[in-house]
Amino acid sequence: MNKLFYPLAAILLLAGSAFTYLTTPGWQVATGYSIAFSSDDASGIFRDFRGSLSFDDSDPAAGKFDVAVEVASINTGNAMQNRHAKSDEWFDAVKYPQIHFASKSISRTASGYQVSGELEMHGSKKPVTIPFVFKKTAQGGLFTGSFNLNRNDYGIGKPGGGVGEQVRIDISVPVTKI
């Protein structure tokens, strides 16, 4: 039995290390990302974005995204608006400090890919589908995508109120290989 232990361990280690290369590659969010939102009346960015991204353009279905932005990192370019956005009237950053997205499936489309999953924001969890494009770069890759959502679906702000209800989200995330 002892004779078999080391050869078996070596085989397991060899297989394990080879398997690492066969699994879906993981990506690390690099600097220079942009999570921007815009509506008729307000626009801005979230400065703090993090999460795990595993994606292989040859096998998108095996990919998985689990990402979050810190609500308190919102920046509209105006200090009063920032404060207002973080208040309980809008995002309520104290009670709901994060906006979280977890993917359920990723598939290829005619123009790129799309990821379906659940977006949790302001205490509400809703299914969303985000079309995106992935381009390989010298440093690693770049994910870009845009989608629209209705802030009323998440109970953010009051309906109407002179602020646009449809909000466009533009995402650009450069990544490097882990």
């Binding site: 921007a36 920046n75 105006n78 200090a79 009063m80």
Partner: protein, 130 residues
């Protein structure tokens, strides 16, 4: 009168601009908030000069119309206008990559009073009371 008023407006405007640039420099070094891309030195000086020249025109007009009470009305108006302009820094929308926009009003609000301060300080050198 207009000539002296204009000279006072220009000199106090430029000095207020230079004081503004110096204040912005101190603000940046002490708090680390750099808004030099949003309001570069040339813009600070130009805005202060604009305020100074506008004050000169206003002073000359009021002095001509109201003679004895012209200066009192002018001083009140100059202070009032300086206070009203404070709305602008609070409403300003900075570029999204500008760090700490909440520190922006703190930098520019004092600058809004510099032209009036410079005017009131230098006025006795240019225009003597009757």
């Amino acid at each position: 009168m207009f000539k002296r008023s204009l000279a006072l407006g220009v000199v106090s405007g430029v000095l207020a601009g230079l004081a503004g640039v110096l204040y912005a420099h101190v603000y940046r070094n002490s708090l680390g908030a750099d808004f030099s891309r949003v309001v570069p030195a040339i813009k600070i000086i130009a805005a202060s000069l604009f305020g100074g020249v506008l004050a000169a025109i206003g002073f000359a007009l009021l002095y001509r119309r109201l003679t004895t009470k012209g200066e009192i009305v002018f001083n009140l108006l100059f202070t009032l206008v300086s206070v009203i302009t404070l709305v602008a820094p609070f409403a300003a929308k900075l570029p999204l990559d500008a760090e700490a926009p909440e520190l922006f009003p703190g930098m520019v609000i004092p600058m809004h009073f510099f032209p009036a301060l410079a005017w009131f300080t230098l006025k006795p050198m240019f225009i003597r009371n009757k």
